[in-house]
């Protein structure tokens, strides 16, 4: 039996390298000011899905919700070996918290359909909430296995998964379809395949094709799209209209959590005592700690 997987991936700001004005006055993130990367655990999730396909056969589709430039991330997924990629993008989805995000993702999954396993990273480094996976599963009434470390086996409609828990692990048997969230140690993402990079660096979304036709009277949009579709280089974009979503549940407006206040972190004054980094300094420090009744 072969299996059809969909991997949910996210382009995230490189939180290790933040600078400048990244927060907008409404408390949401000004993502255009930030360098972006492939969310590390989503990349591991994709790798695990690809390994699963290598072992049991089937297909791996990827999808991401994000701004138009998130298509970069989808190309990277194609370089690694994904069969198809989908961009979910609409201004109406912007500013969503995890609940509103999972609502749109669940509707997109419903639209794509025909899946046995949905893979996602455990959490994204820009929020560390680990909420979107379980919330998406709940909306589709799917079982979930979070913190997956390894897929031990698959047989018919049952998979066996090892998952991390507090101070140990569990082995679970799950009935498909289900959603898995994957931890960092589950797999090492493969490098991009040179042949696939050559092939898919030209994979584009509709908007990217439109930009190519701008100011070029020799290119006709309809023809261009047809050509890209026939070559397998077209990345479909799903918008609010395509998904038939309730707009009251999307984006900032559909998010129950709101940012009320943002405070810059005020550093306390340097009220501390400075100890010189010398032998004498260390002796004096030990004396002080003895006076503090910490030592001795």
């Amino acid at each position: 039996m072969s299996y059809h997987s969909i991997v949910m991936v996210k382009q995230v700001p490189d939180t290790a390298n933040i600078s400048g004005q990244v927060m907008k006055p409404d408390g949401t993130v000004n993502r255009s000011k930030l360098p972006t990367i492939f969310n590390p655990e989503d990349k591991v999730a994709l790798e695990l899905a690809l390994q699963f396909r290598d072992r049991f056969g089937g297909t791996v589709r990827v999808m991401t919700m994000g701004p138009l430039k998130a298509s970069d991330l989808l190309r990277e997924c194609l370089y690694m070996g994904a069969d198809e990629a989908f961009l979910i993008s609409d201004r109406k989805f912007a500013g969503a918290d995890t609940l509103a995000t999972s609502y749109v993702l669940a509707e997109a999954l419903r639209k794509l359909g025909n899946y046995d396993i949905i893979f996602a990273g455990r959490q994204a480094i820009d929020g560390d909430t680990a909420q979107v996976g379980p919330q998406t599963a709940e909306k589709l009434s799917l079982p979930q296995i979070t913190y997956a470390e390894a897929i031990l086996n698959a047989e018919g409609s049952t998979i066996t998964v090892k998952r991390k828990v507090d101070n140990g692990f569990e082995v679970l048997e799950g009935t498909l379809p289900l959603l898995l969230t994957v931890v960092k140690d589950a797999a090492t993402p493969r490098p991009f395949r040179a042949k696939r990079v050559m092939a898919y660096k030209n994979a584009h979304t509709l908007l990217e094709l439109e930009k190519m036709t701008e100011g070029n009277s020799l290119l006709y949009m309809d023809q261009l799209k047809e050509e890209y579709v026939s070559k397998g280089l077209f990345i479909p974009t799903l918008t609010a209209d395509d998904l038939d979503v309730d707009l009251n549940r999307c984006g900032l407006g559909g998010s129950p959590t709101k940012v009320h206040k943002i405070e810059s972190v005020v550093l306390g004054g340097s009220a501390h005592e400075t100890i010189p980094p010398t032998k004498d300094g260390m002796y004096a420090l030990i004396d002080k700690l003895m006076e503090d009744h910490i030592f001795g």
Binding site: A16, L99, V132, Q135, V165, H260, K279, G281, Y283, L289
Partner: protein, 338 residues
């Protein structure tokens, strides 16, 4: 708007033993209930849980909603989230708190999704306050406070239009404060009807070890950050900890770099500690880390960068190369105390 003033805490149990974090949350929940002039209640799911249920009375719980059934022995996402979601739907508590554990982080989002409630992860503080948001007044909202986005900011999250406000909190963030006398609480049984759908995921093996690490109980903690430079350098912290009798811990960056295991991570997404002495070595002092250690009794910071934020929270600051300072500190300790 939701007029009841119930504060709920999900009591987490593993092998029948209640998690520490649940009692920490009850202690905080009691304060929130006092601010609301409301009531603290607990939800407990498991098997043979009577004694655990009664233990919550020591934290001011007036009512324990108890689902007790052999099939509920171990945490399993589907039955637990079904029970919890149905209870939230039925009673509409104002606030629901979960531990930021493997179990809480698996359960809370599922329940929040089902009940369409706002959920904020890894809060470092919770308060009740009247709020004006977009020119509308809201009374007694839960302020969910957490560092965000690279740690440059502290965000206060609210759920103004969500009848139920949910939050997760990591172990150690709140202090566990039992009452001197237990309250006379009651236990309300919750009927559990097994359903075939609850078994779509089945536990076939479990392996648990008692944690060998208990950072929260350690009187002295020697912690290292990314500034230790490499794994080899990090080992000197084990030497220092051995000599002075402490536990070794690390920042998230040190964990991510592979210098130290995740169970020893101190900070917003790790453990919060309040030792007698905390020695921060090669730690710049991002807010997420400080959130987990700033209440230590005494803090020593050793860092080559005099402008590192860690010096803003320390009591004794040493500007210098950790690899030169630490051997001197070890020598001084041995000389003075041995």
């Amino acid at each position: 708007m939701n007029e009841n003033k119930l504060v709920w805490v999900f009591i987490e149990q593993r092998d029948g033993k209640p998690a520490d974090v649940s009692f920490e949350l009850l202690s905080k929940g009691r304060k929130l209930a006092e601010s609301l002039n409301g009531e603290l209640q607990a939800v407990l799911i498991g098997h043979n849980m009577q004694a655990v249920a009664e233990e919550t009375f020591h934290y001011g719980v007036t009512d324990v909603l108890l689902a007790d059934h052999p099939d509920l022995n171990h945490y399993n996402t589907l039955p637990y989230s079904r029970i919890m979601s149905e209870l939230v739907d039925r009673y509409q508590p104002r606030i629901v708190l979960f531990g930021g554990t493997f179990i809480g982080r698996d359960l809370a989002p599922r329940v929040a999704s089902h009940t369409r409630s706002g959920l904020t992860a890894d809060c470092t503080d919770l308060q009740i306050s009247d709020v004006t948001y977009l020119r509308k007044d809201y009374s007694q909202l839960l302020l969910q406070i957490r560092p965000a986005f690279g740690g440059n900011i502290i965000a206060t999250i609210i759920c103004p239009d969500s009848p139920v406000q949910m939050a997760t909190v990591r172990e150690g963030v709140m202090e566990k404060i039992p009452l001197s006398q237990p309250v006379a609480g009651r236990i309300t049984p919750v009927y559990y009807e097994p359903d075939a759908a609850d078994q779509l995921v089945r536990i076939i093996a479990r392996h648990h070890e008692e944690s060998k690490v208990n950072l929260k109980a350690a009187p002295i903690i020697v912690a290292g950050g990314y500034g230790m430079g490499n794994w080899q350098n990090f080992q000197i912290l084990h030497e220092l900890a051995r000599v002075i009798g402490g536990e070794v811990a690390g920042t998230r960056a040190a964990v991510d770099a592979g210098y130290i295991d995740h169970v020893r991570q101190v900070g917003q997404t790790g453990v919060t500690v309040r030792p007698k002495l905390y020695i921060a070595c090669g730690i710049s002092g991002a807010i997420q880390h400080r959130a987990g250690m700033s209440e230590s009794n005494k803090i020593i910071a050793i860092n080559a960068d005099p402008d590192a934020p860690i010096f803003g929270v320390c009591h004794y600051g040493i500007v210098g190369d950790v690899m030169e300072v630490i051997p001197k500190l070890i020598d001084a300790y041995k000389h003075k105390l041995k």
